[in-house]
């Protein structure tokens, strides 16, 4: 589904990804772990098409298409979804309006008629309950005044609503208490399907107790330096990144 070859990327002339390779097939769940500053979030932003990052070398194909040639919105419509680490607020635009616009943009791309307001409301209410969000929040502005946990649940809710082919979750576990983590994990597990892939980016092993991945990769200085099964995450948890000879880079280079 997703094939990344020798990917190099930089932001403001600072090289962050240095020849990253990764293959993800339909039905698989991959976890990327790594210390701060290793390039985890950069990878997710580059895949989603954030124009603040420049790809300097390498190629990425997504279901046979050259992903890097597609504008951000086209990637999204082709089924690439990113759950943001820090979802931005859009004041005055209701969550409901935002989500329906998004759903209808996807439907239009696939030649399906718009979903009407009533139909959408019903669907959105059902899914918001699935991630334990009060349906009243649908009327609030996008991420406006949401708590950290609500923002994360809102992101997972969007994934459930949009049913992407590839869901990239960027530190969706960070800042969550244990109950919220469970809700988010249940939501992500509900996404697991044979025709869908999930790429989780996380700093901590604890998410992987709830969402057991098929593969775990360790990222350091913009490259995958070790890959394995779920047991690799446990080993990291026990031994720390130092075990692989990686220093946890300065917190200043966050992400």
């Amino acid at each position: 589904m997703l094939s990344i070859k020798n990917l190099h990327a930089c932001v403001e002339d600072k090289q962050i990804l240095n020849g990253l390779n990764l293959e993800i097939k339909a039905g698989e769940v991959h976890a990327i772990m790594g210390p701060n500053g290793s390039g985890k979030s950069t990878l997710s932003q580059v895949l989603a098409g954030n124009e603040a990052f420049d790809v300097t070398k390498g190629e990425v194909t997504f279901n046979g298409d050259n992903l890097l040639d597609l504008p951000t919105e086209e990637r999204a419509r082709e089924g690439l979804f990113l759950a943001f680490q820090y979802p931005v607020e859009i004041p005055g635009v209701s969550n409901l309006q935002f989500l329906r616009t998004s759903v209808n943009a996807m439907r239009k791309h696939h030649g399906i008629e718009d979903m009407n307001a009533a139909e959408f409301m019903k669907l959105a209410k059902a899914i918001s309950k699935q991630v334990d969000l009060d349906p009243a929040f649908l009327k609030r502005g996008v991420n406006e005044g949401f708590s950290g946990g609500e923002k994360k649940r809102n992101e997972v809710m969007q994934a459930l609503l949009l049913q992407p082919k590839l869901a990239i979750l960027d530190e969706t576990d960070s800042g969550l208490d244990i109950d919220a983590l469970k809700v988010v994990a249940d939501g992500v597990n509900a996404l697991r399907a044979s025709d869908r892939a999930i790429l989780m980016i996380t700093h901590y092993q604890r998410l992987l107790d709830h969402i057991v991945p098929d593969y775990v990769h360790v990222l350091s200085t913009g490259k995958i330096i070790k890959s394995g099964g779920p047991e690799l995450a446990l080993e990291l948890e026990a031994k720390g990144y130092g075990w692989l000879g990686i220093e946890d880079q300065a917190a200043a280079n966050h992400g």
Binding site: E51, E73, F84, P87, I90, P91, T101, A105
Partner: protein
């Protein structure tokens, strides 16, 4: 190229939807302005003698005045002698007595504009007075209004049928020599709407006027006078469009609202005069004076405006809060794109005790445009316990536009309370990225973000206007990204 003519037409239409010219025979004065022109105009309208005197007085004052230069706008001097001061659709006989007698071309124009003159009006419950170039063409729904005792007619008709009301209130809010453009308007206004709501009457319909400048080289100088007698209520809507022309056209209107005890007026405007093309060529100069006088106790006036049109907008709908406990509100969205310039805001003059005012202004700048909020909040010595809340928010799209805020506060009463909040924000890259990551087209994303920014104002608009306003922003923002 597979592009069909129809697609081309569609594309042009999207640029400025109302940019068509209607081919109708019209009677137009030779360009130029002097006392004879004013006499001819007054004579043509069969006005009472006092009106001619009033006009001439205004004209003489205007000659002595200078064009204002303090606004944050830049344009070549208007050549007042190149403008024709009267243009009316030509008719074989007198004024049309019913819609059937109105030139079918004209009716088609209104249809294109989406004005509900026929049955649609009934469904929408809107009574429309449509001003085309200089004269009112048809006023719908006179009957239910008459039953309620409401007078809603062209001001030229009011001058003949209700001269005492016009004489009493015309110029009482905006005096003839109030400012340069108001003086010009007073001298040459050709038509406009007149509304009188009797004591204790809640106007059964929303009243609506559409203005359109059609003929080339004409100015439009309409005059609106609304009188809300004690305990009455009226909601009044105003919409404006003009064809696309390379030359600039002048629009200098005056709107006067008078509110007696416990009266309420809600005045909503969607202004979409032709803004000029993407290089800044053409467009309407919109130099307008709008003012409400809350002369009665407990009266309340709300101005709500959505301004997306005009090459230059110079407009400050104001409230004179004379009656104790009177309330003034101003809700504004002003959007500028390409080379448009807007200098707009409000004046809240607190004279009576416990008067209060609210100002919510949303300025959106895109392209190379300039958008200024200019507002005055004034508390006179007698304005015991008065208060004002002002919020001015600016939103920038791109990095070549400008937003300016000029708030003036004058307080001569220590008990007055004034709160002022101002913010400037940008449509951020992060917001755009979030929207696009969810499959939303960049232009649709900008439009959605801008609509969200304007929400507080849109919710003050009557329902059908709110929808129109949202669409208008979308059309006006086309080409603002990428």
């Amino acid at each position: 190229m597979a592009t069909t003519d129809e697609e081309v037409r569609e594309l042009i239409k999207r640029e400025y939807e109302h940019g068509f010219v209607t081919e109708i025979e019209s009677e137009t004065f030779e360009p130029g302005l002097n006392e004879d022109v004013i006499r001819r105009l007054s004579d043509l309208k069969q006005e009472p003698e006092f009106m001619l005197e009033w006009r001439l007085k205004a004209y003489r004052r205007w000659l002595e005045m200078d064009e204002p230069e303090w606004a944050h706008v830049d344009y070549p001097q208007v050549k007042f002698d190149d403008i024709s001061y009267y243009s009316a659709p030509k008719r074989p006989e007198d004024m049309p007595q019913s819609l059937d007698e109105v030139d079918p071309e004209l009716l088609k124009t209104y249809e294109k504009l989406g004005i509900p003159l026929h049955e649609r009006a009934k469904l929408a419950g809107v009574a429309v007075d449509a001003v085309f170039d200089s004269v009112s063409v048809a006023t719908t729904f006179k009957e239910p209004l008459e039953k309620a005792g409401v007078i809603f007619c062209p001001i030229s008709e009011a001058l003949q049928k209700h001269p005492e009301l016009v004489k009493k209130y015309l110029g009482s809010v905006v005096p003839v020599a109030d400012n340069y453009y108001a003086a010009l308007n007073s001298a040459v206004f050709s038509d406009g709407s007149f509304v009188y709501i009797p004591k204790g009457v809640r106007c059964p319909l929303e009243l609506s006027t559409y203005f359109r400048i059609n003929a080339a080289n004409t100015g439009q100088f309409e005059r609106t006078l609304i009188i809300a007698d004690a305990g009455s209520y009226v909601s009044y809507l105003e919409g404006c469009t003009a064809p696309m022309r390379d030359e600039n056209q002048l629009h200098a209107a005056v709107v006067e609202l008078v509110l007696l005890d416990d009266a309420q007026i809600k005045y909503s405007t969607v202004q979409n005069w032709y803004p000029g093309d993407e290089t800044g060529k053409g467009g309407i100069y919109n130099f307008v004076t709008k003012r409400a006088a809350c002369i009665g106790k407990n009266s309340k006036v709300s101005w709500t405006q959505v301004e997306t049109g005009s090459a230059i907008t110079w407009k400050y709908p104001s409230c004179i809060l004379r009656g104790d406990n009177s309330v003034g509100e101003f809700y504004s969205v002003a959007l500028t794109h390409n080379y448009q310039q807007a200098d707009t805001g409000t004046k809240m003059i607190h004279i009576g005790k416990n008067t209060s005012s609210t100002v919510i202004s949303k300025g959106i700048s895109a392209g190379r445009s300039s958008n200024a909020y200019r507002g005055l909040v004034k508390f006179n010595p007698g304005a015991e316990g008065a208060r004002n809340f002002t919020q001015c928010d600016s939103l920038l799209i791109g990095d070549r536009c400008g937003a300016h805020t000029f708030p003036y506060i004058e307080s001569k009463n220590k008990s007055a309370i004034v709160e002022h909040e101002a913010t400037t924000s940008k449509v951020s890259d992060e917001q755009m990225f979030l929207c696009r990551q969810r499959g939303i087209e960049p232009e649709q994303a900008v439009s959605m973000i801008v609509n969200g920014f304007c929400k507080e104002v849109f919710k003050e608009l009557p329902m059908e206007f709110a929808v129109e306003a949202g669409k208008l922003l979308e059309v006006s923002l086309e080409g603002s990204v990428g």
